[in-house]
Amino acid sequence: MINSLKKQIKNKGRAYAYLALCTVLVVLITGTAKAAVGFLLIFGIPLFFMEKMPAYATLGERFTRYMFLVFTASVLVFLIAPVLIIMPLSFNAEPYFTFTDGMLNFDSDAYSIRWYLDILHNGMKDPAATVGWWSDMWNNAQWIRATRNSFFIATVSALIATFLGTLAALGLSRPEMPQRALITSLLISPMIVPLVITATGMFFFYSSIGIAKTYTGVILAHVTLGVPFVIITVTATLSGFDMSLVRASQNMGANGWTTFRRIIMPLILPGMISGALFAFITSLDEVVAVLFIADVEQRTIPRQMFSGIREQISPTILAVASILVVMSIMLLTVLELLRRRSERLRGMSPG
């Protein structure tokens, strides 16, 4: 600790002196000592992480480098802060979207888990009941119903999307594929076409064949929207695929299905799983198609959040959002592990 501080002073002593000078100037100009805190948060931290510049670097170069770090640090904070800031806010004891004085003073009374309980209670007939509480919660609580819907729709549509998408990706990555560019751009277009247009078209068509306002309609829509992600991830895995493995397997007398099951599938499995996860998360996050096609019966979590934000904005939404953030952290971890595994597998295969 002391050593690293010493190193900081030794390498960047002059820079720290300038920073201190600027801080004093800022305080003098604004006339409040509080300004120093904000100024140091923005300009001090990047300086701490700045690497030692070579001796020949001019003052201008050093300053440019430093400002570059300040800027990128701010952008990264801009990216991550909103996602993280909702977590402490969701433990607010008051029904506000803002930090209360009590929360800032770390007063334990100012924090509570009431909004997390509200996720369970909202819509229940009798949250205080001891008998039949579980079934009441499972069947009547709005958020629980939305969660069940979301997971059901997302699971089914991710499975279908992965199946269809993997088949298509296998075809697309064959060198003999005719009209590859055209078909690829068709298969990826659901990601590009504005959701409102897709949803409008589906709404008219699904209404005319009687599957609007049903689970089937929502699932079909979500399969459509999830497919591009499966195509992209599986094609990426297949791009490094060694076709001589397939020939070797056929040479040794395996038929097409055995080759797929024993040779291709294990190698592209990481890509398939991450494709499935992408499709799953797309469905879990999708709200426009649900707004157009689904009925109250098929309300999903994002649909519930959408009306929550529009109609009765309460910290319950923040609690749900925090849970979803934790879920995406877990998902990101799984994806990263899969990516590493895929790289290892491909690194091992010859060629």
Partner: protein
């Protein structure tokens, strides 16, 4: 060889070239068959519905469905003065039948709504006349109808009816382009007050361009930092880009509401640091500013990731070579590094622009009044005003713009190069 092994010549009558062609054809078919299930699925669940919507934007049978005989008869009218007595008679009789049958979607009310799009204020004329039309039992029908409501003596009503009798016509595109038919049936600019759609289109394009530009400004340095840092550190920082990318859209929008609202975190901080007074809190959400900030945040990863993947491949030795040959750092950057990043820049820019132009959820939640984009207008016409043909026409125009950019993207970069994480 052939004499030593005659069996080859006897069984394989086809030349090698043809055999190869046959095998390739089989393999091509096999590859295509693998994609076929998905292609069929998307054709049914995605392409066909959108095609049907395009058709809806041109097609509207609300007049010919209600007064079918009249819709045919009115075509013979030359548009001078009022239609003949004969046409009036057919109209009155058709209307009386429609009144009696009352088929869903084929009532005088439906027709009134359709005409009202082009002649605001004419709705009551139709509904009122339809109620009383049964009383007219004998001619002269022209006078009787005009006695019922003297607006029937206005040739413009009949001109509009004649136009709307065509099932297929461009009238909704004309409305979507902020134009209308004037009294004599020419296409003119709509009144200033009704010019919403083109302005909104321009606004959408302009906001999408602005958001893309801000994304470039913010993403370029970040991608550069990620590309030059050692892998361990850059992976750590990459999480800060990927986590928001994988967080639910609604979660991020909610977060921005919590941060930007007048009682929100930013305003609290500004008040705390004394930048603004307690009563000077800034309205940053439920307007255009809120839409821009939230959308930049949501679309920024789409810019960082392609830039990063391109910058990662640029050898640091290029810059060193330029510097060692005596170039000023800025010049070396401008003439060596920057041109190499253009593919990533193009990919990110096009992707962000395409996504921004069709955005719906974020503007709907944080856009307030002036932050609404064209998607919100389309959704309004589909869900609220129920003017489906106009919504479809606006949607088609948006789709064309997006498809042009998608085509450019495919041409320049190729959609299969897209990667996540």
């Amino acid at each position: 060889m052939t004499t030593a092994n005659p069996s080859i010549d006897q069984t394989d009558t086809l030349p090698l070239k043809q055999k190869l062609a046959k095998t390739t054809a089989i393999q091509r078919r096999r590859a295509f068959l693998l994609t076929l299930p998905l292609v069929l699925f998307l054709l049914i669940s995605f392409v066909f519905p959108i095609g049907q919507m395009l058709f809806n934007s041109m097609h509207n049978d609300k007049v010919s469905g209600v007064v079918p005989k009249f819709a045919v008869a009115i075509q013979s009218w030359d548009g001078q003065g009022l239609p003949s007595e004969e046409i009036f008679e057919i109209f009155v009789k058709d209307l009386a039948i429609a009144k009696k049958v009352r088929e869903v979607g084929r009532t005088a009310g439906n027709m009134a709504t359709r005409i009202n799009y082009e002649m605001p204020g004419s709705r009551s004329l139709f509904t009122k006349s339809a109620r009383k039309v049964g009383k007219i039992t004998e001619g002269p029908y022209k006078e009787a109808l005009i006695k019922l409501d003297k607006k029937w003596a206005n040739p413009q009503v009949w001109l509009t009816l004649q136009r709307a009798s065509h099932d297929i016509g461009p009238s909704f595109y004309i409305a979507a382009m902020d134009m209308k038919y004037n009294e004599v049936g020419e296409i003119v600019q709509a009144d200033e007050l009704y010019q919403i759609y083109l302005n909104n289109f321009v606004k959408t394009m302009w906001l999408a361009a602005l958001i893309t530009f801000i994304c470039v400004l913010l993403a370029y340095p970040v991608a550069y930092l990620l590309a030059i840092l050692p892998l361990r550190q850059s992976n750590l920082l990459m999480i800060m880009v990927l986590l928001p990318f994988w967080t639910s859209l609604l979660v991020r929008t909610t977060a921005w509401i919590a941060i930007l609202q007048t009682e929100g975190v930013i305003n609290d901080l500004l008040v705390y640091f004394g930048v603004i007074g307690e009563d000077g809190r800034i309205q940053m959400i439920y307007n255009q500013t809120g839409t821009i900030i939230a959308m930049v945040h949501i679309l920024l990863p789409f810019m960082v990731l392609p830039l990063y993947s391109v910058m990662k491949t640029i050898q640091p030795t290029y810059m060193r070579a330029a510097l060692s040959m005596g170039s000023k750092p800025f010049n070396a950057y401008r003439r060596v590094y920057f041109p190499l990043t253009i593919p990533g820049l193009a990919a990110g820019t096009l992707l962000v622009f395409i996504l921004a132009i069709g955005y719906y959820i974020t503007p709907a939640l944080v856009g307030g009044q002036d932050g609404l984009l064209i998607s919100n207008l389309i959704a309004y016409h589909i869900q609220k005003s129920l003017n489906w043909s106009l919504g479809a026409a606006l949607g088609t125009m948006l789709l064309v713009v997006v498809l042009i950019f998608y085509w450019v993207y495919n041409r320049l970069i190729g959609i299969d190069k897209l990667k996540f994480g």
